[in-house]
């Protein structure tokens, strides 16, 4: 799913230098066509580690990592590290002529506070980029790097926070949709989409109150595409949950202007075996709203996947996990209770 982020991403790029412009208007400049960019095709054949690197012929791409962490006293923390690539034109160019633009978001969420930061960079000059082997993704001093993607270190700093983590994969890559070809709408828009949801993570958080050693699990999403979404979608609610039994669930719903939703997801077994969830197989409904950054955002949800006997409540660890970035949104750690217990991450966009 995070194809929906396509729209959001393009809008973000457009409002970068134009803060008064509403995101929805951003489409005007770009159109909905691929404009010379490559378009994802069915039956993809991924080649690793090459495909962990960038695909400059596609318009947008990201390396999106979220982690649920626990401190020595049992306190729950959330961590986000995301590197986005967005191309003004397909391909690469030398130096400042590169049409590639990079930006990144980093955050730490504690039960009491939410710290976030963002960075921007041009491609072509070395300030930001990704290499597949050895794996390195960086922007400024923020960095995710290691010999392979299965074993990396992760750093980021903001005005009032920093982290230094180590991640090791304990399971296989997981491919969403049809073998990694993830269809986003009836009109046929699609992206390439796979995840590494089996990271074990440990390291140090630096917070205003001092350093905190933490351990936990992390989930990396890799996705790239060229086509934005339809105009009638106002936002989305995206969940990545890890249950105590070892099963995992990725699910999202797109909210549409007519009040209906379009949902999709992937059920992931402890061994990495997947089953795709089609539209309607997953339902999410808000239980409680919180006033955050001047708007009402649902911070407790009821999530049901009847086919898997899932009927759970998903609640934010810190309802105030607002990302004060160029295009703001809600992203933070959650706790799961009900038919299944566990934890995970929630992302919500489009709440005005």
């Amino acid at each position: 799913m995070r194809g929906d982020r396509l729209a959001w991403l393009l809008a973000l790029l457009l409002v970068l230098a134009c803060p008064v412009q509403a995101p929805a208007q951003g489409f005007a400049g770009m159109g909905t066509e691929a404009q010379g960019f490559a378009v994802p095709q069915p039956d993809p054949e991924f080649v690793f580690p090459d495909d962990h690197g960038p695909h400059p012929d596609y318009r947008i791409e990201w390396w999106y990592l979220t982690a649920n962490l626990t401190g020595p006293d049992g306190t729950a923390y959330g961590l986000q590290w995301t590197l986005f690539r967005s191309a003004l034109a397909p391909g690469e160019g030398p130096g400042w002529d590169s049409p590639q633009i990079w930006f990144a978001h980093a955050a730490i969420t504690t039960p009491q506070a939410h710290h976030s930061a963002e960075r921007f960079a041009r491609g072509g000059i070395g300030q930001a980029g990704v290499t597949a082997a050895p794996f390195a993704a960086w922007i400024d001093d923020w960095r995710m790097a290691g010999e392979t993607l299965e074993d990396v270190t992760l750093t980021a700093t903001g005005d009032d926070f920093a982290y230094d983590m180590r991640l090791q994969a304990e399971g296989p890559l997981v491919f969403h949709g049809d073998g990694g070809y993830s269809v986003k709408s009836a009109a046929g828009q699609a992206s390439y989409y796979y995840s590494q949801p089996f990271f074990r993570i440990s390291g140090q958080l630096t917070l205003p109150g001092g350093e905190v050693p933490v351990t936990g699990t992390a989930w990396l999403d890799r996705e790239w595409s060229s086509q934005p979404l339809a105009d009638n979608q106002t936002g989305w609610d995206w969940f990545s949950l890890t249950f105590e039994g070892g099963d995992k669930l990725m699910g999202f719903q797109l909210r549409q202007t007519d009040g209906t939703t379009f949902s999709s997801g992937t059920w992931i077994g402890p061994d990495g075996a997947t089953r795709a969830l089609g539209d309607g197989e997953l339902s999410a409904s808000p239980l409680e709203m919180t006033r955050v950054a001047g708007r009402d955002v649902p911070t407790r949800w009821r999530l049901q996947v009847p086919d898997r006997d899932v009927d759970v409540e998903v609640g934010a660890i810190n309802p105030d996990a607002w990302m004060h970035t160029s295009v703001p949104y809600w992203e933070g750690p959650v706790v799961v209770s009900g038919s299944h217990a566990g934890r995970g991450y929630l992302e919500m966009t489009g709440y005005e």
Binding site: A17, W96, R122, A162, T206
Partner: protein, 799 residues
């Protein structure tokens, strides 16, 4: 009734068109001078602001190369990857069909504080800016630039004049500076845990934000000049307006009495008169603003040249004024009219309904007020003195100047009266006794015009003394500082070594110029290291000194500081200055350092080397008898490029050329203020001429010919102007002293020594006398040609 009242009020102006003209012209001139000067200042300020706002020069700290002009682009990337939030800027000059274009390249993604004009580039600003390789340019160079480059140029009046901005990649290729950066801007907030700058970038220097754009501070003195002129001119104009309104209202007393007797309520009448004055003020203000615009447009080229030459400040050569400027011109005209008319309104309001009307009563009453006025004037003098001695801050300085000027204006009629009384007593001949008595009797009617003349002359003397003193001091200062024949700035230590080897034996003396930025006595400051020698010993003069200054500096036992630091930190010879931890040195001397906003300490070369072992000299002064030959030899041998050498003589000639420009502006304003004052005298004399027939008729009947009467009128004008001049000279000098010793110190931290220019004052006096004579010529001629029948009519009702 209202219509009738309006008609009656208007009929006064119809019968006295000259009075109406005086009122409108006086107000228009006052507004014109004020708003013209404001326009010049506003234009310059908006140009500075545009430069500072766009490039973040005023707002952000910057990293600049310790030596040379260039930072490698890799250095930008390595700083970013070390966690420093910096944005690169490349800057250079392009020649576009003979126009000098300052081309600035930025990276919109990392520029702190936003990306300037690229937000206007349509629906997808970033996309257009980067992909279409747009160049935004100030309208004054946009067209020339568009014809020079193949890229799309967008005119943007929000940019600084002569400036174009584009993506850094585009700028690098246009400037032929691939992979090079001129400076780095630092974001206000930086992430935690960065490595210290001196470890990862020892070749870069942090230049704090205020220091990097001090154009406003540097040019402040120049704008202060202009503002002082504008204010004084306005005051002179308002005197004229006050006179005209006062006279008109007095002459309308009869009409007021009649209208009130007919049943028009006083409140209603005053309202109508206020509306009447408002309409006149708006018309006159409108004319004045247009005149002000023309004045500013005429003077702008000189102002632009002055500012650019003096401070390197770029100011657009085309006036580009905000609507608020036009409105403020009208507002000041209205406010001035209100101020000038308040007394007249007050008197009308208090006048008994059936009071008699007597035009002469007004001027006679003015005479009775002399004593009171003089007392008020004396009080203002005391206030001025108090503000100078006890007050602090620029505002107190200006208030002191205002008190001085208005106090003098108020005391002036009494001084005139006394002087004329003395002259009258010393005279034996009846004719001259009558002449002096008649002159004295005219003083009340002329006093406002004479006050205007007094202020105009005093302002001229004051401002020209200030400007001339500044020029003289600055010339001396240039001699003191530009002691070498040639100045050479090398790129790095290697080039410096080549240079030193080359000039060995070719130059008489080599003076390395060492400097380091630091904080001293809690202020931003610069430490200079000098090689003490005749170049310094013979040329530098001290404001204050203690013993053999240079000997003590040479041995590293003492320090010289500049006047700015001395005044701000109250440090003088005998005090000690902590240069570095555990390094307190006594101050041996204080030198003037005009135009420098920050403090400065001068120490010997060896001590500098001990304090700043990392800093090597890259700039040198070369003393030589044949600068041209040495210059050519340096360039021919390929040691340095032409742009790295500055010739002292050329620099001085350039600076002096700039001052001549300043004088053009000052002289033009001088002539204008004098013209306004001359106009005031003319109008007062013309007004009086009609009323004086009854006083002149008996003199004529007793045997004075009309021609003689006319000649006496001329003589009177000259005598009054001369008396005014006698008072204006000390007043002007007092004004100059306050500008130099009070306002300059408050505004810039340095005090200019005051020099006197008697020839200038003599020329000014001659000008003022000529103006008074010219103003009196017409009334005198009219008097000489008055038909005898008019003079006879005076006696018609007698007998």
């Amino acid at each position: 009734m209202t219509a009738a009242a309006i008609q009656a009020l208007w009929s006064h102006w119809r019968r006295n068109p000259l009075q109406l003209f005086t009122l409108v012209a006086g107000l228009a001139l006052a507004t014109a001078l004020w708003s013209g000067v404001q326009a010049l200042n506003a234009q310059a300020r908006s140009s500075y602001d545009a430069a500072a706002a766009l490039l973040g020069e005023g707002r952000f700290d910057q990293l600049v190369p310790r030596s040379g002009e260039t930072i490698a682009q890799d250095r930008f990337v390595s700083l970013r990857r070390a966690g420093w939030l910096v944005g690169p800027v490349v800057e250079g000059t392009l020649d576009a069909e003979g126009e000098r274009v300052r081309l600035v390249g930025i990276d919109p993604l990392t520029a702190p504080g936003g990306a300037g004009p690229i937000t206007q580039a349509g629906d997808a600003p970033l996309q257009s800016f980067l992909l279409d390789r747009l160049i935004f340019a100030h309208p004054d160079i946009a067209e020339a630039l568009a014809r020079t480059v193949t890229l799309r140029v967008v005119a943007d009046p929000g940019l600084a004049p002569g400036t174009a901005i584009t993506d850094i990649g585009v700028a690098q290729s246009l400037l032929d500076r691939a992979g090079e950066i001129s400076r780095l801007m630092l974001a206000d907030t930086q992430p935690r845990g960065r490595p210290p700058l001196d470890r990862i970038a020892p070749d870069l220097v942090l230049r704090p934000s205020q220091q990097s754009s001090d154009i406003g501070q540097l040019t402040g003195s120049f704008h202060l000049n202009l503002t002082a002129f504008g204010l004084l001119s306005f005051a002179v104009g308002i005197f004229i307006v006050h006179g005209a309104i006062g006279l008109a209202f007095e002459q309308r007393r009869g009409m007021v009495r009649t209208l009130r007797s007919l049943g028009l309520p006083l409140r209603h009448l005053i309202g109508l008169m206020a509306v009447e004055l408002t309409v006149i003020a708006l018309i006159a203000g409108g004319i004045g603003v247009v005149l002000g615009y023309l004045l500013a447009a005429a003077l702008l080229p000189d102002v632009v040249a002055t500012l650019e030459g003096l401070y390197g400040a770029q100011v657009s050569g085309a006036l580009n004024l905000q609507p608020s400027w036009w409105l403020s011109g009208l507002a000041i005209a209205l406010a001035g009219t209100g101020l000038a008319a308040s007394g007249a309104f007050w008197r009308i309001a208090r006048m008994p309904a059936l009071a008699t009307s007597d035009a002469r009563a007004w001027s006679m009453a003015a005479g009775r007020r002399h004593g009171l006025q003089a007392m008020a004037g004396a009080l203002l003098f005391v206030m001025a003195g108090g503000l100078v001695w006890l007050g602090s801050g620029l505002l107190a300085g200006f208030a002191g100047v205002a008190c001085l000027l208005f106090g003098a204006a108020l005391v002036f009629p009494l001084i005139l009266d006394r002087a004329l009384t003395v002259a009258e007593r010393r005279t034996r001949a009846v004719r001259w006794e009558w002449f002096w008595a008649d002159t004295r009797q005219q003083v009340p009617g002329l006093s406002l015009a004479l006050m205007a003349l007094l202020l105009a002359m005093a302002a001229n003397i004051g401002v020209s003394t200030m400007v001339s003193s500044f020029r003289l001091t600055f010339t001396g200062f240039l001699d003191q500082r530009l002691t070498s024949g040639l100045y050479v700035a090398t790129d790095d230590v290697a080039q410096a070594a080549t240079l030193l080897a080359f000039v060995e034996g070719r130059a008489d003396d080599v003076l390395p110029l060492l400097s380091a930025d630091t904080r001293l006595a809690g202020q931003k400051a610069e430490i200079l290291g000098v090689r003490v020698g005749p170049a310094y010993r013979d040329n530098w003069s001290f404001i204050a000194q203690d013993g053999a200054v240079w000997d003590r500096v040479a041995t590293g036992d003492a320090v010289i500081i500049n006047e700015q630091m001395a005044r701000r930190a109250d440090l003088w010879p005998g005090d000690t200055l902590p240069l570095a931890p555990g390094r307190d040195l006594p101050i041996a001397g204080v030198v003037s350092d005009y135009g420098n906003p920050i403090g400065q300490a001068v120490i010997g070369e060896e001590l500098f080397g001990a304090l700043f072992p990392e800093t090597r000299a890259t700039r040198f002064g070369l003393r030589t008898q044949a600068p041209d030959a040495l210059r050519e030899a340096l360039i021919d041998a390929g040691i340095v490029q032409a742009g790295q050498i500055t010739d002292q003589a050329a620099l001085k000639a350039f600076s002096m050329g700039v001052f001549e420009r300043t004088f053009t502006v000052t002289a033009a304003l001088n002539v204008l203020t004098l013209a306004v004052a001359g106009f005031a005298i003319l109008m007062s004399l013309l007004t009086l001429a009609g009323m004086r027939i009854p006083q002149l008729a008996p003199a004529w009947a007793l045997g004075l010919t009309r021609r003689e009467l006319g000649r006496l009128e001329l003589l009177r004008a000259v005598i009054l102007a001369a008396l005014t001049l006698v008072v204006a000279v000390p007043l002007g000098l007092a004004l100059a002293w306050m500008l130099l010793a009070v306002i300059n110190v408050e505004a810039f931290g340095w005090r200019l020594p005051m020099f006197l220019f008697p020839t200038d004052y003599a020329v000014l006096g001659a000008l003022a006398l000529s103006a008074a004579m010219a103003a009196a010529a017409w009334p005198a001629l009219r008097l000489a040609r008055t038909p005898p029948s008019h003079l006879l009519k005076v006696f018609a009702h007698e007998g």
